[in-house]
């Protein structure tokens, strides 16, 4: 039982942070790092709870939008190239996901948005994913004397397995409270010392 309690506590104290290469979920924001610059990454699917934002992985197939919002204003003066290639494997969930593979960059992309400037600081990518699969996204930003590449593997059509992350903490709290209640119910009541007459 102690193991369960420890696991629940660790679950509660861990801050939500994970990454697929250049895309990482920090707190409640999904961010894409390209060199020293940062963008917000948002995925939307019209036929799958349209207002909901996804962070890299898109749980269903169909019409999808990926929006990159530039947090660093300097990116507005740089060109941004977005390309996606097909992959045989899913994201590893390790730092290797972020390593740029030259051979991938030479491949003909599954789809590509050619390099151009985005003065509004927002880049919208629309894509119809007809079948599920694994992909690798590349974001290449280029300024006058600098060029940075970010790689992020993602999947389409694979719903998140297990408990949704938003429910993990409430469930952990509930389990801990139940365990504590059971623990105290089975113990004998504590009595105060009574005054002795002698």
């Amino acid at each position: 039982m102690y193991k369960i309690v420890y696991a629940a506590i660790m679950l509660m104290v861990s801050t939500a942070s994970w990454s697929h290469g250049g895309v990482m979920n920090e707190g409640n924001e999904c961010k894409l790092r390209v060199g020293p610059y940062v963008m917000n990454f948002s995925g939307y699917q019209l036929n799958n709870n349209a207002p909901m934002q996804f962070c890299d992985d898109l749980p269903t197939t169909g019409e999808s939008y990926i929006v990159l919002d530039f947090i660093d204003n300097k990116l507005r003066d740089m060109t941004v190239n977005f390309r996606v290639i097909k992959s045989d494997t899913a994201a590893l969930g390790t730092s290797e996901d972020g390593l740029v593979v030259d051979s991938e960059l030479k491949e003909t992309p599954f789809f590509e948005i050619p390099a151009k400037r985005y003065p509004y600081g927002t880049m919208k990518i629309t894509q119809q994913f007809t079948e599920k699969g694994h992909f690798v996204g590349y974001v290449i930003v280029e300024g006058e004397n600098e060029k940075f590449i970010s790689r992020f593997p993602f999947s389409v059509g694979y719903p998140e397995a297990g408990i949704p992350s938003a429910l993990k903490i409430p469930i952990a709290m509930f389990v801990i409270i139940v365990i504590i209640m059971i623990w105290f119910v089975r113990k004998k009541p504590v009595k105060f010392n009574e005054k002795r007459d002698d």
Binding site: I9, M12, V13, T15, E26, G27, E29, N40, S42, Y44, L46, A50, P51, Y65, V67, D69, F70, I71, N73, P119, Y120, G121, T122, K124, T126, M173, I176, I177, I180, M181, F184, V185, K187, P189, V190, F192, N193, K195, R196
Partner: protein
């Protein structure tokens, strides 16, 4: 049987521990962390400027600007019955020398009228070297701080050179940076020693905390026997001593400083500025937020009662500015100044004198997402607000507050 008290205490302790351990690092800088509706529908700041962004210790900086109390004030936010103009700075990098609202001293708290515009000026004196992001700030009682635009300011020099001299009513010149400091330290040490002695005395008088509680429970009606005649004498000496010291210090201070004025805690009422709309009216007919496009689109019904054609040059909300460069040009003052220099476009052209016209306005920029204004669409009351600014051919400006329900669209 369940021990309710102990269980509740355990649960509280566990929850406190979890919350303390779970506390993630703060990501936001403050201005983004407030709810979108709060930033768009309470206090709308504009024309905020600082006189300089680089100065030395002892030099002065003036922040000026205007603010408008939004007419469609959220029901759940306290109205500005008591408000105080302030400046948000991380740490005492500056001291405030003076502040004015519509030319009236802003030393006291003020009551403001919803739907009215005021201008402000705050004079600050650099105290210590730092590079800081400073904001205009309005503290509203029961509503909290309403943050204005921020500016990066750098103070150089040496804090040791800082002086903050004033002349008192009696003509004495004093430096507020050091005035009375020695006296304050002396009194803090004095009362600290007294408090420590009192605490230590009782720590060494038998059991403390839980053992003492248990002993009190055990002795029941005879628990007072735990306090000895010596304890009572020490308590009496401390009580009388405290009264004597406080009374003596009061009369001593009065003798040393016979001419004083009480701390001013009154409230003042300041008349608002004349209507900034200058005869132009505008109301939102419909509004949509294009989610993947990061664009607010609204139809404005505009009536021009001035003598000159007017064009839409700017929309501002939540300290973010969307500019129409064909009419009004503004560039970001620094790396964190959210100005969409070409973020505003509209169909409909100029509104002629006496004409009423529908304008289709689009405000596009990543700021909707990066400044978390798009969160508005997840609110149960998705209403937006802001100021639109029209300009005539001579550059005269009309500022009008607009707002209304917002519908999200995804295509």
């Amino acid at each position: 049987m369940l021990n309710i008290k102990k269980t509740i205490l355990m649960l509280i302790a566990l929850m406190v521990a979890c919350i303390a351990l779970y506390a993630a690092p703060a990501m936001a800088h403050g201005e983004k962390s407030q709810a979108a509706y709060l930033r768009m529908r309470t206090l709308l700041w504009y024309d905020v400027e600082v006189s300089t962004v680089k100065l030395e210790v002892n030099e002065e900086l003036t922040m000026t600007g205007k603010f408008y109390w939004f007419y469609d004030w959220p029901n759940n936010i306290a109205k500005p019955e008591v408000a105080f103009l302030n400046i948000g700075i991380p740490g005492p990098v500056f001291v405030r020398k003076a502040s004015y609202i519509n030319g009236v001293s802003g030393t006291n708290s003020t009551r403001f009228d919803i739907g009215e515009t005021y201008e402000f000026k705050v004079i600050l004196k650099a105290r210590r070297p730092a590079r800081i992001h400073m904001h205009a700030l309005m503290n509203v009682k029961e509503a909290g701080p309403l943050i204005g635009p921020g500016r990066w300011v750098e103070v150089t020099g040496n804090q040791a050179d800082f002086t903050n001299e004033i002349t008192t009513l009696t003509g004495e010149t004093i430096d507020l940076e050091t005035y009375g400091l020695e006296n304050a330290v002396k009194w803090h040490i004095f009362w600290g020693v007294i408090a420590a002695a009192w605490l230590l005395y009782w720590i060494f008088q038998g059991p403390i905390l839980i053992p003492r509680y248990k002993k009190v429970k055990l002795l029941n009606e005879d628990a007072d026997d735990m306090i000895s005649p010596t304890d009572r004498m020490v308590g009496l000496v401390m009580l009388i001593g405290t009264f004597v010291v406080v009374t003596w210090s009061y009369f001593n201070a009065y003798q040393e400083f016979p001419i004083t004025i009480p701390l001013q805690s009154g409230q003042i009422t300041i008349p608002a500025l004349p209507d900034a709309a200058r005869g132009v009216t505008a109301e939102v007919v419909d509004a949509r937020y294009r989610v993947p496009g990061r664009a607010l689109e609204y139809t404005l019904k505009v009536t021009n009662n001035t003598n000159s054609p007017i064009k839409l040059g700017e929309y501002t909300a939540a300290n973010i500015r969307w500019m129409n460069p064909e009419v009004s040009v503004a560039l970001p003052a620094d790396s964190h100044d959210p100005v969409a220099s070409n973020g505003l476009s509209y169909e409909g052209g100029a509104v002629m004198p006496g004409e009423t016209k529908l304008l289709k306005v689009t405000c596009t920029d990543a700021a909707w997402e990066t400044y978390r204004l798009a969160k508005l669409i997840y609110d149960p009351d998705s209403r937006f607000g802001g100021l639109v600014m029209f300009f005539d051919e001579e550059g005269n400006r009309s500022v009008i507050a607009i707002g209304g329900p917002l519908i999200p669209v995804f295509i």
